[in-house]
């Protein structure tokens, strides 16, 4: 990352901290939780999201003057879906087990509101380089939250970390942590901790019609 005064570092830093999509804007939670049972699946999901978010922002930014305003959402969806298909085909060809473990959640990157949100909210109004970095920053912020949740869930739920046993002998993994309730509660705890440490990040309340 460049120095603090650099313009190029700003969108990346905002995405990770001040404008963190999951913690501050409460976006993209959908697929955030489903893959966080294991650290390995989380890392792959994070990488896929970095790829899709940065390149869709880049493409939308390059196209922004050529696309009529009325059809822009459809064009953005087309760009995002195409990139997601690339990720899906790559995973299926080279990492078949990972692809099977992630299941339909790779396809669900399409409807991840973070990506469409950055395309619509930033890439449509900014140059390609900044848009690319903005997509990268938001996706990195998202991936870090996912990783934090996964690091809580994998040892407690399965007794391992990245597949290595880390808990002492006799520790009984709690099935509920690796199931859906554990995902929700772990996420709530991460949000709580982050907002307790950084209280200056105002809790942005959503308008009634999101």
């Amino acid at each position: 990352m460049a120095g603090p005064g650099s313009d190029y570092a700003k969108p990346v830093k905002d995405g990770i901290a001040a404008q963190n999509p999951v913690l501050v804007q409460a976006l993209g939670i959908c697929s955030a939780l489903a893959v966080t049972g294991l650290v390995s699946t989380t890392l792959v999901m994070g990488a896929a999201l970095l790829f899709v978010a940065s390149f869709s922002s880049l493409a939308v930014s390059l196209l922004r003057n050529a696309v009529p305003h009325k059809v822009r959402l459809i064009i953005q969806m087309l760009v995002i879906s195409t990139l997601v298909i690339l990720v899906h085909l790559y995973l299926r060809a080279y990492h078949f087990e990972m692809s099977a473990a992630l299941g339909p959640y790779v396809g669900l990157i399409i409807t991840n509101c973070i990506i469409l949100g950055r395309c619509e909210g930033y890439a449509m109004r900014n140059g390609p380089v900044m848009a690319f970095l903005d997509g990268l920053g938001s996706a990195a912020g998202y991936a870090l939250v996912l990783l934090a949740i996964a690091i809580i869930r994998e040892p407690l739920g399965s007794g391992t970390l990245l597949g290595y046993a880390v808990t002492p002998k006799g520790f009984q993994p709690a099935l509920f942590v690796s199931g859906p309730p554990g995902a929700f509660i772990a996420m709530g705890v991460v949000v709580w901790i982050v907002r307790a440490i950084y209280p200056e990040e105002e809790v942005t309340e959503h308008p009634e019609a999101l």
């Binding site: 976006l27 709530g188 907002r195």
Partner: protein, 208 residues
């Protein structure tokens, strides 16, 4: 799950989609709008009805497209086009939502003013795309009728979850919650508790 669709298998799929395999509480889909608009029970109900309708219709449409065109050796196009399924599904959903919006505005304006604001949000509701993606899971071997039952059940399950949440959040207005936990934090934790309660349905019906 067998491919033949007797009435009882349809009931099983329908109930499983609502209770044990709830699209929100066990598959984590549709969380964004769940958190965004679960503050008022009437709004939640409106969104729930809109989601149920769109989920059901697009699941059926996408089923027809997937097995009629995209899979290898399908009746209308023999080539294997399954790699286009994501693209087709999301286009069908976006197009369908747009169509419903136009039809409602033209013919039933009263309904349009009540549900109109929810419709654009539905396109990016992951629950809708999620149902279309889950129904093609080869392990489930869903036939046409099962898909219809699954689509309807999933939509109703989502509606049930968001209405329950809206009821709880109206009570929460009066609760004294630690400041960092307010808003997103407490909502997610309560969702976790709801998911835990729904685990109690495990074993009543089993999907696949």
């Amino acid at each position: 799950m067998h491919a033949d669709a007797t009435f009882s298998t349809l009931v099983v799929v329908f109930l499983a989609a609502i209770l044990t395999n709830n699209i929100l509480l066990s598959k984590f889909l549709g969380m964004c709008s769940f958190i965004g608009i679960s503050r008022n029970i009437h709004t939640a109900l409106g969104m729930g009805i809109a989601v149920t309708f769109v989920t059901f219709c697009t699941a059926v449409l996408n089923y027809a497209i997937y097995y009629g065109i995209l899979v290898e050796g399908a009746p209308w196009c023999a080539a294997d086009l399954t790699y286009l399924s994501f693209l087709c599904f999301i286009m069908v959903i976006a197009g369908f939502v747009q169509l419903v919006e136009m039809v409602l505005e033209r013919f039933i304006p009263a309904l349009y003013y009540n549900f109109g604001i929810f419709l654009p949000l539905i396109t990016v509701n992951c629950a809708i795309l999620g149902v279309s993606l889950f129904m093609i899971d080869p392990n489930l071997k869903f036939g046409f009728k099962q898909t219809a039952a699954y689509g309807l059940g999933s939509g109703l399950g989502w509606m049930l979850a968001i209405c329950l949440m809206a009821g709880i959040r109206q009570k929460l207005e009066l609760a004294d919650i630690p400041k960092p936990l307010r808003g997103l934090g407490i909502t997610v934790i309560i969702t976790g508790l709801m998911a835990m309660a729904f685990l109690g349905f495990q074993g009543i019906v089993d999907l696949g």
